[in-house]
């Protein structure tokens, strides 16, 4: 008996977004990275084109982290006071595909640094590495709206990915990204309906769909990742069915979420039954990343070098 053909094909694809610009295009990156483009559910290459591979962005902070567990700080402790050196190490030793500069230090509760500091930090990273860049806001709307226009202007031409706009605060950052040629992340609080709404609001301002990326506040393994997984899966299915407001590629905040989890922070001495903290913590970040990769994440923002290595290897396997 013939084996039935169970292929599920789609006429629609996830949008492609190009991050970075080389010298000839007005930037200074050594190469660009294209994300998205899938015409199937993740890795189902029998059904159709799986598009571009998932990429890993390593987080670099503008100033030394104040709230990272010792174990996470350990691999970066020699470079944590210089974002440029930090970024170079992340690329050279950790194989970061992109660098995400997190402007935590401008947050009023985490140093309240000014725009000049933020510009200096992103400039150092830009000069230190050739990979495409992501810049992520602090999360304080007022401070972000004050500082980010200057950061955006300092990186004009680099076609960075800017994170993130939310339903209640999207106009200013959307405007500056439009003006400076950057791409933009639309954020939603684990809510597919709001994700769609944010995409509509941003596109209503005339922002091009092929410069938009979606982000659901991710949730780590054990902390709601199943919600993120099913939302992202549903987003991908909607994209394949032709929903233009759900066709953007997806980014996940793996490192940030994982290293907030109890399982990564509690030492073995407090919880002997959980075993080695390092092994457990690195594995927690890696497993969070891989779950999201399987749900259709196009960029993973990660933090620990060993977790990055583990996930890179797994992605290679999935693609081979």
């Amino acid at each position: 008996m013939a084996i039935p053909d169970v292929k599920e094909t789609s006429n629609h694809t996830v949008n492609k977004v190009v991050i970075g610009a080389e010298k000839g295009e007005g930037g200074t990156r050594s190469h660009t990275i294209t994300i998205g483009g899938a015409a199937t559910l993740p890795f189902l290459d029998g059904d159709g084109d799986i598009g571009n591979r998932p990429y890993i962005a390593v987080d670099v902070l503008d100033s030394p982290p104040t709230d990272w567990p010792e174990l996470l700080l350990e691999p970066w402790k020699d470079v944590a006071d210089d974002p440029g050196v930090w970024a170079k190490k992340a690329v050279d030793e950790c194989g970061a595909d992109l660098i995400c500069i997190c402007l935590d230090g401008i947050h009023p509760d985490k140093g309240d640094r000014d725009a000049d500091h933020a510009v200096q930090a992103v400039t150092k990273v830009k000069e230190a590495v050739g990979v495409p860049l992501i810049v992520w806001r602090s999360g304080d709307d007022a401070k972000d709206n004050e500082v980010l226009p200057k950061v955006s202007a300092a990186l004009k031409g680099e076609k960075i990915l800017f994170g993130s706009v939310v339903e209640d605060n999207y106009k200013r950052l959307t405007g500056i990204c439009m003006a400076d040629g950057h791409s933009l992340v639309g954020q939603a609080p684990l809510d597919i309906n709001i994700a769609k709404q944010v995409n509509i609001l941003v596109s209503e301002m005339g922002f091009p769909l092929d410069r938009m990326v979606m982000f659901q506040t991710t949730g780590a393994l054990g902390y709601g990742i199943e919600y993120a997984y099913s939302i992202q899966e549903r987003e991908r299915i909607a994209a394949l069915q032709g929903d233009k407001m759900m066709s953007m590629p997806v980014i996940g905040l793996v490192g940030y979420e994982s290293w907030r989890a109890k399982e990564t922070k509690v030492p073995e001495s407090d919880m002997p039954a959980w075993g080695s903290q390092k092994e457990r913590a690195v594995m927690w970040e890696a497993m969070t990343a891989l779950a999201l990769v399987h749900s259709g994440c196009d960029i993973l923002r990660m933090r620990h070098p060993e977790a990055v290595a583990m996930v890179k290897k797994s992605i290679e396997r999935l693609l081979s």
Partner: protein, 267 residues
């Protein structure tokens, strides 16, 4: 949802005059307005506007294609007129033949023509014995149609089954919409992917005094049980809004506060 814009039809006076006078402008304007309103296909029926229906169909198809690339639904009860339309149509854009009855001897003629031209086909669940009066008869005719389509190599995704909507005010017809809805949910599970279900929507309100609300309500009800296409007035915004909303409520479209706008972006 697959809306088929009904307005380019020689039964409407403006189109009858345009076809008779070979006046392209009103046809092309209506084509573009329907496209903008979300028509996935533009129905194209020469009606009684010309003695030479084949020539009129060719002219109508060419006229529409000059203005827009929206696929055309070639609408005639006569095979020679459909063939004339198919000759004029640009194959690459795909088109829909509207329509053929569920009689086997008709299917034996229409299906190979459509397969050869890469056209989709609307088949009515009626035979020379008339419009069926029960759920079972409709499902039986649909099964014959689906079997024949498979025999001729037409994919189920290109087959549109029209379960025939009768005017609600005809004596005895009021039981029919319920039968149709029962039948179409059964027809939808006969193939994977399911065949499309369409209907000439405005038939249901023919001769009534509340046409708009009857059309709109039936469309939402039928959409809820799987009717994914309709030949209708796409320029009726309330009607299209009702359809979009029905599809959103059954989770075929992800909700957002601007879901009406979002749905139109996808049309």
């Amino acid at each position: 949802m697959i809306p088929i814009g009904e307005r380019i039809n020689g039964m409407f006076l403006d189109m009858k005059k345009a076809i008779a006078d070979k006046d392209k402008k009103p046809v092309q304007e209506l084509a573009l307005r329907q496209k903008k309103a979300g028509a996935a296909y533009l129905d194209c029926n020469v009606g009684t506007a010309s003695d030479d229906q084949e020539a009129a169909m060719r002219w109508l198809v060419e006229t529409i294609q000059e203005a827009t690339d929206t696929p055309i639904a070639i609408d005639s009860q006569k095979l020679n007129v459909i063939k004339a339309g198919l000759e004029a149509v640009d194959n690459l854009k795909g088109c829909l033949v509207n329509s053929c009855s569920g009689d086997e001897e008709k299917l034996d003629v229409y299906l190979p023509v459509c397969v050869e031209k890469n056209a989709s086909l609307i088949v009515l669940t009626m035979t020379k014995e008339g419009v069926p009066q029960s759920v079972e008869e409709r499902v039986e005719i649909a099964a014959t149609i689906i079997g024949k389509a498979a025999e001729y190599g037409m994919e189920s995704a290109r087959l549109f089954i029209d379960p025939i909507i009768l005017p609600i005010n005809v004596p005895g017809a009021q039981a029919q919409p319920g039968f149709i809805m029962d039948a179409l949910s059964q027809i939808r599970i006969m193939t994977d992917p399911p065949v499309h279900i369409t209907c000439g929507l405005s038939n249901i309100s023919q001769g009534t005094k509340e046409r708009s609300i009857i059309n709109r309500t039936f469309l939402a009800m039928a959409a809820a049980v799987g009717m994914d296409s309709a030949i209708l007035d796409v320029l009726d915004t309330d009607l299209m809004d009702a359809w979009i909303t029905a599809e959103m409520i059954i989770n075929k479209q992800i909700y957002s506060d601007f879901f009406l706008k979002a749905a139109r972006m996808n049309m």
